[in-house]
Amino acid sequence: MSTTPNLDLREGYTEKFGFHDTEQSVFKSRRGLDREIVAQISEMKGEPAWMRDYRLKALELFEKKPMPTWGPDLSTIDFQNIFYYVKPTSEEARSWDDVPADMKRTFDKLGIPEAEQKFLSGVGAQYDSEVVYHKIQEKLEQLGVLFLSCDHGLKEHEALFKEYFGTVIPSADNKFAALNSAVWSGGSFIYVPKGVHVDVPLQAYFRINTKDMGQFERTLIIVDEGAFVHYVEGCLPPGEQVSLGDRWVNIESVRPGDTVMDSDGNEAQVASARVRPFKGELVRLVPVSSANAFQVTPEHPVLGVRRRGLTTRRTARGTWLREIDNDALCRTRPEFIPASQLERGDFMVFPVSKITRPNERFTREVMRLLGYYLAEGSAYVHKKLHVPVVAFSFNEKERETIDEVKALILGITGKRAMEIHSPARHGTEVRVYSQDLLDLCVEHCSRHAAEKRLSKTVMELPAPLQNELLETYLKGDGSVYRKRKHTMVRAATASQALAWQLQELFARQGHYATITVRKGGKDTILGRTITRRDQYILYFSPDREKSQVRQGDGCFLVPIKRVERTPYEGPVFNFELESQPNAYVARGFAVHNCTAPTYSSDSLHSAVVEIIVKRGARCRYTTIQNWSNNVYNLVTKRAVAYRNATMEWVDGNLGSKITQKYPSVYMMEPGAHGEILSIAFAGHGQHQDAGGKVIHCAPNTTSKIISKSISKDGGRAGYRGLVKVQKGAVDSRSTVNCDALILDEKSRSDTYPYMEIEEDRVSIGHEATVSKIGDEQLFYLQSRGIPKEEAAAMIVSGFIEPIVKELPMEYAVEMNRLIQLQMEGSVG
């Protein structure tokens, strides 16, 4: 065994894998809220006195203001059970040059200033409460675009910051705006100078949260005259598979509440799932085991160890790189490295599943028989005899094995198995008629060769029992041979799912098996054309001392063979876990989550977004959120638009326990235009109170609100909106369309359209509809062969089509996909 780097991924996640270096001054405010905490937050941030006073005054307002009672019930929020602030690092980055060396290494791990990140124009990395680093692509910087954390914005551009901060949403606006004003942390500060068009969306990502942590980010966007910006939030592309512990699923099918395997090999609950459109280069990391290759966005953090600095003086062997100093590797803690920073030879962490659940039913004998079944067995109901059959095929020479299988069958089922000989093929089939055994085999190993996979129960059994299964499996589908001086073990299967499961099982035995794919396709044998399936071939050497793959405690370190970059345009996916480490396993390797706060108990998200759109400028703010269903999502979003300026909110709310969000646009000068497109989808236990507000403060201003709300499984979704035309705002035009779709009898929809019109010469249109998915609609679609669930999803997609068609293609595709996910299992 090679020297083992002492890695316990379970211990002290934050210290090891957070972006900290040796000197840590982590500050976490105690639970609850009072003047002392607020003052402490301000002090920790090193804020000027005016901001401290502003916060304290806001706290007073928060305490004075009653809880709003006009909307959903918020009485269950426990303000004293929340952590309001966690400071991640001792100092915040200023500009790149100011960053101290150890800090710089941390940021280097984040990899933001790499010149190769051509597409990524702006990046905000939020760690707990604070954005630890923001970096703008040089080109944008030259244009004078500022894109920083809000904290940093205050420090670096105090005059500009102070001029606008709190002007659109004063802290006295509402209780939650007051709360945010008192404890705000993180968020983005954006300034787009006159005439500058930022033609790629600015994005914020990485938010890692502490349990019971409130999220109070603050965003301030100033779009100067004639400028344009599109701000979005947001990470793996569709098709990547993540581990649920016992099996692998496509990332896009992961939903809140699902259980996945985290980067320590433990189970973790998914708190929220996210998607965003992406255009640019994806990084494909090909490890020594090429079938474990996976793709991520360049900034996506992957748990790994850099080879650089660990190499010995010994020259490279063959085609591979210079040898690694094992002691050095041993001392190095794995860290999250952006995919784009990883190089050939760097190590990725392959965690070994730690999930163990003993089960008395699975004796050594059962496991051995299942192993044989996995390799050589088939289970079916005999067509003519109508009896359940479990059969095992062997070569007639495998007498010992045949006898063992017969003995196992007798022991397990009490039935005597028969032998069927086919001399022409030198085959012997061991066959037994047993419903119990058929059920056992099908349930825990599945049925057909290409679909064979092990059940969750088997994958979670103690490792020594699993070894019994592996042993008999290898007798069938495996081979053991000598290569040079080493013993090599090889196994082949047509089932991709099984290949990855076997890799995990071998890993639990202490062997890292590589997987390669032998592509199937048409082939000609003896003049006949046959179609071969893809074959997944696993190899490992049980006795090899030196290997490219190093074993750690609870993980393997697997070197990267190749890094490829491919252009990609389309949606990318990511999700958040309920517990730390907030990282999961993609194709066997630990990758970090990106974006979006996560909450483990009922939690509070109370952000404030202020936007100033100056003359002739345009701003679009897009969010498609899928919060965990225990989050109070109470967000105040408001924009002011000046002469001929346009502000557009595109707001999709799919998750959360309660959402109250009414993005608003104040049209301050003639020609201003405000637009709000809102989709709210409320499922079981959810209340979506969404909508928008448009305030016409000047003549010749125009606005449009389109709201679509959907409720199912007892959910409650509604539209709450205000159209206000102030005195003097003549010739203003506004149209409001709010449609509700109710999917079942248990669900509810509300419409609260408020109008305050103080001028006569205006044009106001309001249309509202409430409809139900009718049995007749479902029957009609079903009568054309479309399954009920898909039919219902189709009706819902049709319902939101008027908004979706306004979205860019990739959002539209994604929105429909999210709707389909929400609709799964929703119709009985």
Binding site: G774, Q777, Q782, S783, R784, E790, I795, S797, G798, I800
Partner: protein, 267 residues
């Protein structure tokens, strides 16, 4: 050669909210055959059509429906459709926001690659027709029914005129190529030109691979679609069956003679 009818209805009793509508109806439709089912209002014609398609409102209390030799009574509506049953609706339902083309492609793919054939996983693997091939097929079939190309981009039955709705039904039939098509009062609400287009469509599709059951109140449509057999249904049962000329007799004499239980001369 033995005759094996595609659709066999045996002594079917069907009720709705406890009230019996079909009272022992039996009928057989073979491939390549066109049957007309006629009857006065309230005789149970539409109940039969909806029951064949598996509408949840209708309860089969006894009897059997066999399609290709298999009972369909336990099958969901969508499974029946994928197996090759089709009903042209008397009142097609609007699905706002879903285009005709999108809907038809989803339906066709369901028929080509039924979910039950790929393991029924949470994310059924989609095979089915390539978009390009589908567009060509749609264009061709729409031409057959004299439909404008823009029709494919409209939302299904949303704001369609009566004639457009019925034409859309025939278009669906032309795309899905069922083995048994039930036309539930397809002729109602059609002017003579639309009736001709619809009938031409049905005639073009009918052939050895498809059986058709035309359900109608009037025999007007039978001037365009020539049935091999005509059945007269009164009070939940088929009272009389005969050749095409039976329809003429109904036209001149009404339904009363059937109701009165008179003998009728079969040609």
């Amino acid at each position: 050669m033995s005759y094996a009818p595609e659709l066999v209805i045996k002594d079917l009793h069907v009720g709705i909210e406890g009230k019996e509508i079909l009272k022992g109806l039996s009928l057989e439709v073979g491939k390549g055959e066109i049957h007309a089912l006629m009857g006065p209002n309230g005789s149970g014609k539409s109940t039969l059509a909806n029951t064949l398609m598996g509408h949840p409102k209708y309860e089969v209390t006894s009897g059997e429906i066999l399609f290709k030799g298999e009972s369909v009574l336990e099958m969901e509506t969508d499974a029946r459709a994928r197996a090759g049953l089709f009903m042209a609706f008397q009142y097609p339902v609007a699905i706002p926001g879903v285009t005709v083309a999108n809907f038809l492609r989803t339906a066709l793919n369901a028929r080509l690659a039924p979910p039950e054939t790929n393991g029924g996983g949470a994310m059924p693997h989609k095979r089915g027709i390539a978009p390009k091939e589908f567009r060509a097929m749609l264009k061709e079939r729409m031409g057959l029914l004299k439909m404008d190309e823009s029709f494919a981009g409209r939302y299904l039955n949303d704001g369609f005129s009566g004639g457009e709705k019925k034409r859309a039904e025939i278009l669906q039939m032309a795309i899905l190529k069922p083995e048994i098509a039930i036309m539930d009062e397809t002729d109602s609400g059609l002017d003579i030109d639309a009736l001709r287009v619809v009938s031409d469509g049905v005639n073009a599709l009918a052939g050895p691979a498809m059986g058709v059951l035309v359900i109608t109140h009037y025999n007007r449509i039978l001037n365009y679609i020539k049935p091999d057999k005509v059945h007269v249904m009164v009070d939940g049962r088929i009272q009389v069956s005969g050749g095409a000329d039976l329809a003429l007799k109904l036209e001149s004499q009404g339904y009363d003679w059937v109701r009165d239980g008179q003998e009728v001369e079969l040609s």
